[in-house]
């Protein structure tokens, strides 16, 4: 079924061979060739700015990570590898971490990269702006010498958690000498960011593309292999398909082309589809029940509605098999924290109807109750999912009013006004569950106006307690057990749950090598990609 179709797409032998070679920069199966221009895209639109310090979504994440680097990165195997930091060691009590930095690294403007930059980034950027809640416990960041930084925390901090933050979306290191004293968020340098990465921004032609040139002073000798990198944007998945066919595009991450086109393009072996490289940014489509409505305060109603949705249909028809039904609150690609035995909700209309009857909502005059269904319109698939779920609920004799607003309205209605009964939204979580997954279920995740967190109003002290324990548990095994308990409880309670785990795919020409090698490939610097031409 869906799982097996994924296998089909690991086509070329090159792709399969590379799947087992991804560790250190220079070691690849074949000898990398230097030179060439890579034209890349992703499945969405142009970013508002090449670097958005506070996040801004996948698009600026894609463009900024070619220029800015992090201390660590997470490989496909879920191991941490050094990038700007050679070593990160916790103290005995896990209340402080000593970071040893790489030597002889320079910023694109020639100034040296030092511990001051990291200390500045930690206290002035990560803590207040990009990582926010994740680094609540961070008290201070001190540069002991030009290559050593010590981070001190209010309480014990688990190692996997901290490394995950440093290797994740919010851990980009920014130069102190440029950003100190300015408003980081609105600093105009964000349109032409200056980093330590393998690529420097040459030119951004709005509405079309951004061109990067090779950083000849990059700290890894010989890298990057590419001379030039061009990221181009199209508004239209079909145009990207055509661009691949016309040879105008080399690689596209995150479902760049319409799913039905994948089979056609990969026939013949010139183009491959790769599913690796997304585990640290695992996308799911969620269904969320607004607990401020009387009906959804009852757990049985929420569970009944879960049973009423055929998620296999969604995965097969709407995602063309490039998704699979979720089990529990954690995506199945999360090999560390996923709990197979979490409560599942197989499609069963009769059971759903019986549960609704038992919960006190029988069919009266042709309908059990009315609800407003809001499907966030930022993905095309959500439009169709909204239409399908409406039909599924109508089959349960529920009257549904469907709206599929644009991004701005969806964000406002779901996360600020809480103006919906049932919402269909999305989440992309890191492997580390705190906070990207847990903030949907905890009471402190309820922050009016901030997106992609607890908008349902669900509040359960037991769950909060579990998460609080997870935050300070430094024993790996105990922590994993706590996480699985969290997953099981969240799945039974079902205030919101993922419906399907998406299986995003990277499309690339077969002569593009060394891609999809890390757990969040779109957000990596791409220093090791080379062209076999």
């Amino acid at each position: 079924m869906a799982r097996f179709s994924r296998r089909e797409f690991l086509l070329t032998t090159a792709g399969a061979a590379l799947a087992s070679h991804f560790s250190s920069p220079a070691a690849a199966a074949a000898t990398p060739k230097s030179g060439g221009t890579l034209t890349a895209t992703w499945g969405g639109f142009e970013p508002q700015s090449l670097f958005v310090p506070a996040g801004g979504g996948s698009s600026p994440y894609f463009t900024s990570t070619k220029v800015h680097e992090r201390l660590l990165r997470l490989t496909v195997d879920l191991k941490f590898e050094p990038v700007l930091a050679l070593d990160i060691k916790p103290a005995e009590d896990f209340r402080s971490y000593t970071i040893k930095l790489r030597d002889k690294v320079t910023w694109h403007d020639g100034k040296p990269f030092t511990a001051d930059d990291v200390a500045f980034s930690a206290m002035d950027y990560w803590k207040p702006i990009s990582a926010g809640v994740s680094l609540d416990a961070l008290e201070s960041a001190e540069a002991l010498d030009p290559l050593t930084v010590v981070l001190k925390f209010k309480g014990p901090v688990p190692e996997f958690f901290l490394k995950s933050v440093l290797a994740g979306k919010s851990g980009l290191v920014i130069p102190k000498h440029i950003y100190a004293g300015s408003n980081i968020i609105t600093n105009p340098i964000n349109n032409t960011p200056v980093g330590t990465g393998p690529f420097k921004v040459k030119e951004w032609v709005r509405g079309s593309h951004v061109e990067y040139l090779r950083n000849d002073a990059y700290w890894n000798p010989g890298l990057p292999y590419l001379d030039r990198l061009v990221i181009r944007w199209w508004r239209d998945p079909a145009s990207r398909s055509a661009a691949f066919e016309a040879g105008q595009l080399d690689i596209g991450t995150f479902n760049p082309i319409p799913m039905p086109d994948i089979a056609r393009l990969t026939q013949g072996g010139k183009i491959v589809a790769e599913t690796k490289g997304y585990s640290n940014s695992a996308w799911v489509t969620t269904i969320e029940f607004n607990q401020r409505r009387e009906i959804f305060k009852k757990r049985e109603v929420r569970q009944a509605l879960m049973h009423g949705i055929d998620r296999q249909f969604i995965a097969e028809t709407i995602f063309f098999g490039r998704a699979h039904p979720s089990i529990g609150a954690v995506p199945s690609s999360n090999s560390i924290f996923f709990a197979k035995d979490a409560q599942d909700y197989p499609f069963d209309v009769k059971k759903a109807a019986a549960m609704l009857d038992a919960a006190g909502y029988p069919v009266k005059g042709g309908s059990r109750f009315k609800l407003s269904l809001l499907s966030a319109g930022w993905f095309e698939e959500n439009v169709k999912i909204g239409q399908y779920v409406k039909q599924a609920f109508e089959d349960l004799d529920i009257t549904v009013d469907l709206s599929v607003p644009d991004r701005a309205t969806s964000l406002k209605r779901i996360y600020t006004d809480y103006d919906y009964d049932v919402a269909i939204s999305n989440n992309s979580g890191s492997i580390e569950l705190i906070p990207s997954t847990t903030q949907y279920y905890t009471t402190d995740g309820i922050v009016k106006g901030a997106a992609f967190r607890n908008a349902t109003g669900y509040s359960n002290p037991k769950l909060d307690e579990l998460v609080a324990k997870m935050t300070v548990e430094t024993d790996e095994a105990k922590r994993i057990a706590l996480a699985k308990d969290f997953d099981r409880l969240a799945s039974i309670e079902a205030p919101l749950l993922p419906m399907v785990d998406l299986e995003p795919v990277t499309i690339a020409r077969a002569d593009v090598r060394s891609h999809s090698t890390t757990a969040d490939f779109m957000g990596e610097s791409w220093a090791e990609i080379w062209l076999d031409r």
């Binding site: 079909a238 039905p260 439009v383 169709k384 469907l402 709206s403 599929v404």
Partner: protein, 281 residues
Amino acid sequence: MLALAIDFARRFARNRAALVGFVLVIAVIGIALSAPWLFPRNPLRIVGRPEIWPFTTSRYLLGTDSLGRDIAAMIAYGARTTLLIGLCASLTATIIGISVGATAAYFGGWVDEILMRLTELFQTIPNLIFVLTIVSILGQKIEYVTIAVGIVTWTPIARLTRAEFMSLRDREFVQACRSMGMGNLRIMFGEILPNALPPVIVLSSLVIAGAVLFESAVSFLGLGDPNVSSWGGLIGDGRTLIRTSWYICAVPGMAIMLTVLALNLVGDGLNDALNPKLRDR
């Protein structure tokens, strides 16, 4: 009265193309009206396998779309949406347009100046953008799309009404009415308007066509009402499948084209029938 109507019908019928258009319009109306009988279930229901090509099975004559919905049903119900929006929008536009044009022409002076500036304002703002803005403000409901389209299409009607009124205003029969002591409103709407109406009616048919095109563009861009079936929405849906299942775009596109075409032909026919001088073209 009857004699005039028959004469008019005869002149209209002499224009073959207009007749074809008329028949097409009747056909579209017919499909729209009979949709609930032909396709009793909700057209947005998923009924079969997705992406079945047209004319391959007898159950789904026009095939199915990417979700597995019956395209024939969606076209039939889409006709209702289209006609509804077309009629209501052009009605809105006509009411606004006639009011503005008549008032401007009849009163003249600074009233005329202000109303003409207003007309110019709405003519200057790029139409589709305006519609998109209004729809994104008010919401994606079929009523708001109608209002938005109506607000954007009234200007040519206002201009035409004004021109017609101005030419009729100073005619003798109006002066006669005035000297009889008839009130302004009565003169405007009771005497002048019926005479000014024919060219406005012709224009209205073109306005309906314009409204249909606007609605399809709005739905295509994803701002249509998801609770109703619309032709533009189908095209938007099928955009990602143009390589393999391009019929999903082609079929509703043909429907829109034929409807707009028909309306234009009818408009031409009406124009010719009402202006016999130009008939010998």
